[in-house]
């Protein structure tokens, strides 16, 4: 805060005040999205925008990010809030141009006006102002994709959205619907084939080597992704224009990666979770190792102190402490891998194996209505993700019909592996305890508890759903040392840390 007092020239200060209002609105929005923005950071951001030319949207964005976002995994959330919040205020957006939903006749003027307004960012791209036929649009798009012409792609994305998304003011559908409609009309797969075809024709002998083919395909895939992003952004901008900033930031608010619910994650979110788990496990392992190393000062060992005091003539000059022997538990993970909870089981297995050096032994069992030990998949593997994948595809877990039957699965466990459970064993059971109205066989858990050190149950369902419908988690709870709601990475991390 010390450096916030710097000379401000009057022109800046005069123009600054509405800007500051805008900024504080923006910061409130960020906090609503779950980003931790402190007061100091708020002040820094206000100071920072004084030094940044506002016409330069990108730099402006980076300046705000540098002062407000201190964790890279929050970047995406920041970006969305930024796009929504400054959607109508960017230099390329004149409010007068925002009358997007007017009749098609004034579309053209609209386009021209923008094309001029956008100057450098759009380049010659906006030149295609006149209404294009679908064929022309497709051809230009193909061209832009082939050349990787970003400005052109942006302009065409805008055109495509107008033409195909069929947006109507006030219609209560989400952006994904419009995105789907636009993409369906553009037929990107067809374009991909065509692009590859062209590339092959251009190659010297009319044939690409397979390796080149692959590279070209990657290249086009990335350009297509860019195009999709442009289209998404355009839809978002139009929705904001229609419904207002407030409503849109509410609907677009996405949970941060560590708060994404396992049970309801979309495919994209799953991917980002999978990426998030590597650094998470690494950090957790480092933290636990440190805890083990330093958290070892025990209470005074009275007997030992007296004994050593004899060598000082009875003066307890050298107090002795007990060093608690850190126990290394054996972990048995018993995971339900049926349908909806599979993702949760996958992440937990991943995490447990990643920190397996903290345990003396880890054994993993998976079940649906039958049960199989899968420890072998992890033996000597250094790619945990691969092993977890094999668990999900190769383990023999179906007994009758492939619907969860906790009772039977526990029965099999008890029969085959029950004797291995000992006083050093910590048993983790993962699942939602939705038993399809089979018998619970909870006596097995009771037996396990009496032999094992601890039994924990992790349930990926929200607590309020427990014991509703066919969920019988309550029957097992009685015999568990703890039952935890673990719906996202944050909770999972918290639990694993507590385990040690």
């Amino acid at each position: 805060m010390s450096s916030t007092e710097s000379p401000v020239d009057p022109a800046e200060a005069a123009g600054g005040s509405p800007m500051l209002d805008l900024l504080s609105g923006f910061i409130i929005e960020l906090r609503n999205a779950g980003l931790p923005v402190s007061l100091t950071e708020n002040l820094d951001a206000m100071e920072a925008v004084k030094h940044i030319p506002l016409e330069d949207r990108e730099t402006f964005k980076y300046a705000l990010a540098a002062t407000l976002v201190k964790n890279h995994s929050h970047w995406k959330a920041f970006e969305i809030v930024f796009e929504v919040f400054f959607a109508l205020r960017g230099s390329e957006y004149d409010i007068s141009d925002e009358d997007r939903f007017g009749d098609p006749a004034d579309l053209d003027d609209d386009e021209n006006g923008e094309a001029q307004g956008q100057g450098q960012s759009q380049g010659q791209g906006g030149g295609g102002g006149e209404a294009l036929s679908p064929e022309q649009l497709a051809k230009m798009l193909l061209d832009a994709l082939r050349k990787g012409d970003q400005a052109m792609m942006r302009a065409l994305a805008r055109q495509a959205v107008r033409r195909y998304a069929g947006m109507e003011p006030g219609r209560p559908v989400g952006g994904t619907y419009y995105l789907y409609r636009t993409l369906r009309n553009l037929d990107l797969d067809g374009m991909m084939d065509e692009l590859m075809e062209q590339r092959r024709a251009e190659a010297p002998d009319g044939q690409l080597s397979q390796f080149d083919e692959r590279l070209e395909r990657d290249e086009f895939n990335i350009r297509m992704e860019q195009l999709k992003k442009e289209i998404e952004a355009e839809i978002r901008r139009m929705l904001v224009a229609d419904r207002g900033v407030e409503a849109m930031s509410r609907t677009l608010r996405k949970p941060l990666p560590e708060d994404v619910d396992f049970m309801h994650a979309t495919r994209d979110e799953m991917n980002s979770l999978r990426k998030a788990i590597y650094p998470l496990t690494r950090k957790l392992a480092a933290r636990l190792a440190r805890k083990r190393k330093y958290g070892r000062r025990g209470p005074l060992d009275f007997r030992k102190t007296v004994r050593t005091s004899l060598s000082y003539g009875g003066v307890p000059a050298d107090p002795q402490f007990k060093f608690p022997r850190p126990h290394k538990p054996e972990i048995f993970v018993i995971a339900d891998i049926s349908g909806s909870v599979a993702a949760f089981a996958r992440f937990t297995l991943h995490l447990v194996y990643a920190i397996s050096s903290q345990f003396s032994k880890v054994r993993a069992f998976v079940f649906i209505d039958g049960l199989d030990e899968v420890t072998r998949f992890f033996d000597g593997v250094d790619d945990i993700g691969e092993a977890v994948h094999r668990v999900n595809t190769e383990a023999d877990v179906v007994w009758v019909d492939g619907h969860s039957d906790y009772g039977h699965a526990f029965g099999v466990f008890w029969e085959r592996y029950g004797k291995d459970v000992g006083p050093k064993t910590t048993v983790l059971i993962l699942g939602d305890a939705r038993n399809n109205y089979h018998a619970s066989q909870s006596w097995i858990i009771k037996e396990i508890q009496s032999k094992a050190r601890q039994v924990h149950w992790l349930n990926p369902e929200p607590k309020s759903y427990w014991d509703t419908g066919d969920s019988i988690v309550g029957e097992y709870t009685e015999y568990c040392d703890g039952v935890y709601e673990v719906r996202n990475l944050r909770q999972l991390e918290g639990f694993v840390e507590k385990l040690i």
Binding site: S6, A48, P53, K70, N71, Q210, L215, Y278, K283
Partner: protein, 293 residues
Amino acid sequence: MDPRFTDVGSVRADLDTANYLADDGIAGVVYLADRLGKPILVEGPAGTGKTQLAKSVAEITGARLIRLQCYEGLDEAKALYEWNYKKQLLRIQAERNSDVEWDAIEDDIFSEEFLLTRPLLEAIRAEEPVVLLIDEVDRVEIETEALLLEILSDYQVSIPEFGTIEAKQIPLVFLTSNNTRELSEALKRRCLYLHIDYPEMEREKQIVLNKVPDISENLADQVARIVRSIRQLELKKAPSVSETIDWARTLVLLGIDQVDAETATETVNILLKYQSDIAKAIKEFAQSDEFSG
């Protein structure tokens, strides 16, 4: 004090001359750090040029680079300052026979003469412009981070026996982190945050062209493309920029000007360091064969 840069563009152009290709984000944050007088916390995967950024900024501003390499167990005596005990002892012994008051001696031995400066204090006391680089700050324990807080927010160091030493000029401070652990809020709050990721393909190509003499544009392009494809796989450790450069150098030395699946398979061990990663990449190269064949 005068700002070092006039605008964002000039930062970028200057860095260019120092052979560091910055993107908008990097240049913007460096510019802002100078204007606001705040440290920059640079995070990102290993080998993306975080340390190099500090070095290049030092080079273009004509400042001396003072570097503090962090490690587990780093303490005050290594980071901030230390009293020169031997010299103090000698001094006390020398005064033993004279009748100087103890108070006077005490004042004397806790003066600047007996102070050994360590990197942080040195950066503060420097007369000439300096760039302070605190490298791999995530390696120190969370308690040790507290040592840095005073210097980062107020550019001063308090020494109990001596008083507070304030900076003669505000140095540009870079902290780098490989993100092996979460840094404390207090530290993050005091810094501007910059995440340097693997560069975009175009930028990486330029970097390769810049750093590898005699490479053809075509080969550089191919190298950048292949590396980008490899980074999309799920790997334990994705290839860093420096590994890309090494690979490009190797290819040039081998006299290759067209990379095909075979050469890629043979030389991929320069890009990737884990056996499982290499196997995965090779499998991927091979797959692209049957894919269209």
